[in-house]
Point group: C2
Chain length 883, copies 2
Amino acid sequence: MASESEAQRALQYEQTLMYGRYTQDLGTFAKDEAARLRLQEGDTPRPRRPSELLEYTQGRCAPCRVCALQCQRFLISKVGEDWVFLILLGLVMALVSWAMDFAIATCLQAQKWMYGGLDTNVLLQYMAWVTYPTVLITFSAGFTQILAPQAVGSGIPEMKTILRGVVLKEYLTLKTFVAKVIGLTCALGSGMPLGKEGPFVHIASMCAALLSRFLSLFGGFYENEARNIEMLAAACAVGVGCCFAAPIGGVLFSIEVTSTFFAVRNYWRGFLAATFSAFIFRVLAVWNKDEETITALFKTRFRLDFPFDLQELPAFAVIGIASGFGGALFVYLNRKIVQFMRRQKTINRFLMKKRLLFPALVTLIISTLTFPPGFGQFMAGQLTQKDTLVTLFDNQTWAKQGLSDEFEYLGILEAWRHPRSNVFVTLVVFILMKFWMSALATTIPVPCGAFMPVFVIGAAFGRLVGESMAAWFPDGIHTESNTYRIVPGGYAVVGAAALSGAVTHTVSTAVIVFELTGQISHILPVMIAVILANAVAQSLQPSLYDSIIRIKKLPYLPELGWGHHEKYNVRVEDIMVRDIRYVTLNCRYRDLQQVLHSTKMKNLPLVESAESMILLGSIERAQVGALLSNQLSPQRRLLTLRQKVLSEDGHRLSDSSIRFQISTEASSGSPARPALRKPLKPALKRVPSSPADSPPAGAADHTGIALKSLFCANSTAEPTEAQGTAYHKAKRVRISIVEEMVLGDKMTPAEILEWEEQQLDQLVDFSSAKIDPAPFQLVEHTSLHKTHTIFSLLGLDHAFVTSIGRLVGMVSLKELRKAIEGSVTAKGVKVRPPLASFRDSTASTSDADTTALRQLWDRHQHHPMPREASPGGDDDDDTPKGQ
Amino acid sequence: MASESEAQRALQYEQTLMYGRYTQDLGTFAKDEAARLRLQEGDTPRPRRPSELLEYTQGRCAPCRVCALQCQRFLISKVGEDWVFLILLGLVMALVSWAMDFAIATCLQAQKWMYGGLDTNVLLQYMAWVTYPTVLITFSAGFTQILAPQAVGSGIPEMKTILRGVVLKEYLTLKTFVAKVIGLTCALGSGMPLGKEGPFVHIASMCAALLSRFLSLFGGFYENEARNIEMLAAACAVGVGCCFAAPIGGVLFSIEVTSTFFAVRNYWRGFLAATFSAFIFRVLAVWNKDEETITALFKTRFRLDFPFDLQELPAFAVIGIASGFGGALFVYLNRKIVQFMRRQKTINRFLMKKRLLFPALVTLIISTLTFPPGFGQFMAGQLTQKDTLVTLFDNQTWAKQGLSDEFEYLGILEAWRHPRSNVFVTLVVFILMKFWMSALATTIPVPCGAFMPVFVIGAAFGRLVGESMAAWFPDGIHTESNTYRIVPGGYAVVGAAALSGAVTHTVSTAVIVFELTGQISHILPVMIAVILANAVAQSLQPSLYDSIIRIKKLPYLPELGWGHHEKYNVRVEDIMVRDIRYVTLNCRYRDLQQVLHSTKMKNLPLVESAESMILLGSIERAQVGALLSNQLSPQRRLLTLRQKVLSEDGHRLSDSSIRFQISTEASSGSPARPALRKPLKPALKRVPSSPADSPPAGAADHTGIALKSLFCANSTAEPTEAQGTAYHKAKRVRISIVEEMVLGDKMTPAEILEWEEQQLDQLVDFSSAKIDPAPFQLVEHTSLHKTHTIFSLLGLDHAFVTSIGRLVGMVSLKELRKAIEGSVTAKGVKVRPPLASFRDSTASTSDADTTALRQLWDRHQHHPMPREASPGGDDDDDTPKGQ
């Protein structure tokens, strides 16, 4: 008995530990625990846990444990705070971002150094210029491919999907993190037109996931799903924030790109983390003596007193509209390249067999074209992306008086000058070449984003318009008093914001450019251009991220877009599936089999009866399968045999039922009917009974009552372990093993078939199945617009359509998507609602639910519903009269 | 017959008009129509509509009508576009804002002119200085009081409540608009420390509401509720945007202040409208020659290359933390003043009797204290709010070397200098005095906001810290190479953002200051200060707007705040009301009466039976009342009498039933049982039968079958009017009037009592009641956190708690609020969910629902549920076998 009290204390200890978890997690926890136990039960029913626990506690003394407990509690109370997590996240991401920037700069420096050192021989120079990026990109592609193929690409589409509640495996692991960081550094270090912004959103999210897993070592706080989603949303903001040192723009951009509905209470998380991250990121630059103080990343020095003339606004509007078309074209081009590469089977087979050939080939082409002494001289090929942006945002007018050669190019600006052509030609060539290069480069299977390349192209386009305006109006437009010259740099800023806004379908690129340049004086032109660009681009193409989501066939819900009026006229009844398979409460196992064969729905509705069609809940397909396979399992067949043997031997039976009554105190009432309704509260503390052990309650065996309690003990002893019955359980299991050895399988195949047919005709016992007791319901007249709102608000996957409790149809994401656009099928991913998952967590606490369910079922089973005078004033549903 | 075809054509015409409405509106429309018809029926059953329609169409010829129709359609297609509305809204608001600014400036100019003109006599000067604002404020208070008391105050709390879906009467009317605009102009023209930002949010919303009502003259597009909510959200952004010429900050601020969950798809609306509005607002200033070009409102000219030193950051953090405490104190002070004024009965009685005395008194005190030759000289009393802000954001250091008199004050800066004290004293006095003055002034019952006063105080506080820093480090902190002096203006910007952020609990004040000053160089200090200020203020006090919401007892849902972990441990079962009254499907009218007496719930759950407790839907309290009063109505008594008479006279009966069969073509099946299930689609087109006419289907009268069809005709002829039976209806009503005159009320009171008792014992017929077929359901184990999320996501008022279809409890806003904080009861306002109102619109389409319901009810009535082998593969729920 000494060991038993020890075990009890240990269990209490575990209980206090569990207290740190959010209660809502208990459901999930219980579910996992149950699944684990069931699994254990599946292979070997060995009494593992008690012995483990004994071992665990015997090594320590009580006061020591109390002290450790208090320390742990204090740690939990501190570590569990949101702000600690957010600041840690910001800090880590700032360090990662800075370190990566440093590494990338070093890589680019090395290429420049090689290129510069070999200036005696053009061929050698070319070789160096071309080989270096090819090697880096190939390495990046290979490394990513081997370590974690999930790290390929931007990551924003995946994050959007994950934040919608879809579980994408392996997307937030340490392996992917390492692959993405190293792959991205190499890819950007190659000097290809690739960006770091999208991948940074992914990296930050992975960082948050890993950090929360790490911090959960100190306490259970980080296991809450809703909280994790909130933290991931904040992480996305951090990703953009520390990439551009743009906290506000980061938060807004991440919201626009990843969310459909945003919780304002979650706002400060993003701001706190992104601000801290951007702060540290810039402070590191100061400490490294790169900067004198904290300033913007691409600081501009436009004049403040007269940033632009009112009459220049049409030019800004033109930039906006042109960028809109350009953005749509970019998305289209990018998609077409991907689709072309997929469709061309010969190319595909060739390239895909040697997976690294395609990246190498693309890099070769692009770097050949940018080779500075070659074609690169017409497109400022020698400048890195960062230098390009710095020069484009430059304060001076390059094409002064339209005579470019009169102007003194300074430093890196020199790259834009060409002796035999003017700056306009250079800019046009740059824009055209970079456009297709970027669209092509972003399809390479390395971690890379498209934001920065697009941003640079936009800046170049803006600069082109600006230079044209400056050439057209050499003395400025303003005719009164002072002469204010046109500032082409301002146009570049507007163009950058407009084109990146058009490609990503966001307005917050405006804020990002203000934060990047450190100047907000062009706010109105930027806003006008961005809004116009968005209006044009959104009406032509999906955003780049949505386009990738569709290419990758991730589950998604299309946006309703800019005022689709016709959507208000479509109703749920027009799009719902009427012919749905369902499970009735009083069905037989044969019916379950039929339903499983006839539908592929992941969730089956459970109705009261085929006549009433009253929706009681929904049951997962897997659960139905489990019920069925349990009913037909060899174990049960064995039990049936054993039952026959046992029915002759009354002695052992009474013995075991007495033992049962001792062992399960709190839950002893559960198999017996009269007490069924009571245990609503303590129910959560028990894990659901595993299907492998549940008794065939619907079976019409006469001898089974006492026997049933044996098996009930079998199924309830497991969970009540936490209440001190572990000892008994160990004993019991040992006995059952002995029994099994004694009996063996003595049935012939024909007998088995007969037995199975017989089993299939039994009524289904739902008591062991997890039932979602409150699936989302719509009514037939709900409009498509509202359905869309609700689906995106709650992250639903499907909803049942009811009419006063009666099930009449079902709408899933697929129907909704079809109704909005066309038909694209998503597969291979499991959709789980993030906010509506409150049902998930409760579906597992099946004891309370199954109690109610079984009661209902029993009532239906034994006597038709009595029709009495209605109670009216009788409201106490815990003690119903009719029972 | 000619007139009949005319009427039919007219009805078709009306139908095409209705086509423009969103279909989801049809539900609401039908409901309103039904309510209207019922009302009409209530006082006089006259056949009004057909005659009206005839009159309406006879005046026009057919081709003319077709042409007009096409024109109208074209107009609708253009006017219905969202962007047209948004641009119109932006334009109107910009004009209003600019005109008001102009009027306010003129008012302030007038005061200055009076004050300046009377400089020979200090007493006269004082009289002018004091009388002018007193008169203006008194006028403003009186005018608002008389025209629309709803215009008093900020308006943001009310908008927050309205956007949550609560209907606040009279808050969005033309009267309130006029009162608010004129009242606000006068109040701000007085020079009191009041702001225009909050009221502008309200004005913009009213403007949007009025505009949508105006545009709906051209088409039905603007009658969609969901759309109106979206437009109101955009209008809030416009309000802030055109007030500060800050489009981005406006959008963000309005989101933070008014929403809990924000639809990202709604984002562009706010940006488009706010940008256009800000643009026009600033263009007007350019056209008026106030400005040379479009620039920021309070343009600063801080140096760009070295905005601040890293070592200054602790000072900025101090500003943030102090502002947090200051902001909380301001909210506390403001609330205490309001509560003090309410509690002090003697003062209250005195002041409230003469409602204008309080504003006048407050204005007198404040203007006396700011009198420039008096105490005002120590607090820059002569400066207007705008001038104060301009001087505070000034580029120069006032306390150069700590010796204020060495410094040359220029222009309006002169006001801050005092010969016998230095600038620190002036600033401290200014901050202290303005602090309580602003808190007091914002309690005056005039349209006014608190944002600007707080903003100015924050700027002064920041300036104070900045000047202190400048005095402490005369040569700047940076020790290397260059000397960068400290810029106190930057501190003022940080202080302004931090204090206003603390008072309003928003982060977006940071963006607003960038847009207001046109410089973003201080982004990191501003962000850090704002976040710290928010962290401090949010942990101490609610935001100013939430504080006002609580004072005004508006319905609200408190935020969960900065990581309340304990909320995760509370579950629905801990807070839900278990003892709820419900209505059963097979109850009697007596039970309804009991339920109505025993509860005050606005929505009663409808369960299948007291034993099963399966939740079928929810029914409004008013509906239950209507059912009851209908059952006991004198009309029905009369009918019972008439019925006796009629039962002797078979001739007339058959006559009327034949007439009925002619008149109702589409809906003739509805009273007969076999066809009950069919009309799901056309159901929407009919308005629900009004309770006053519905037959007592549960009555056990034998003679009633043919008679019932008469009354069914009575109830269905009304809605099918739209299908061409108006003519018959007119005839029928005339007949029933004749009948009524013939019969009269012949019962004695005792007979009536007996009859009523008899009626109460009948089973309730729910077929005429509107039933919400899908009320929101939670399960017992849902956490408080998730419940909060769902309530705020869907704007719910209450939710039923179910356990596999069984009703076990109910949670309303009240319980949730209690669980989160304490207990505050909201009353006097009707809560209606904005997004979840999809149920509202469908609840009215009761025909289809009642069909299903009645069928269920019939089944329960006549035979207990048959228990058969479950169908399994039988899924066609439209043709059930059991029926």
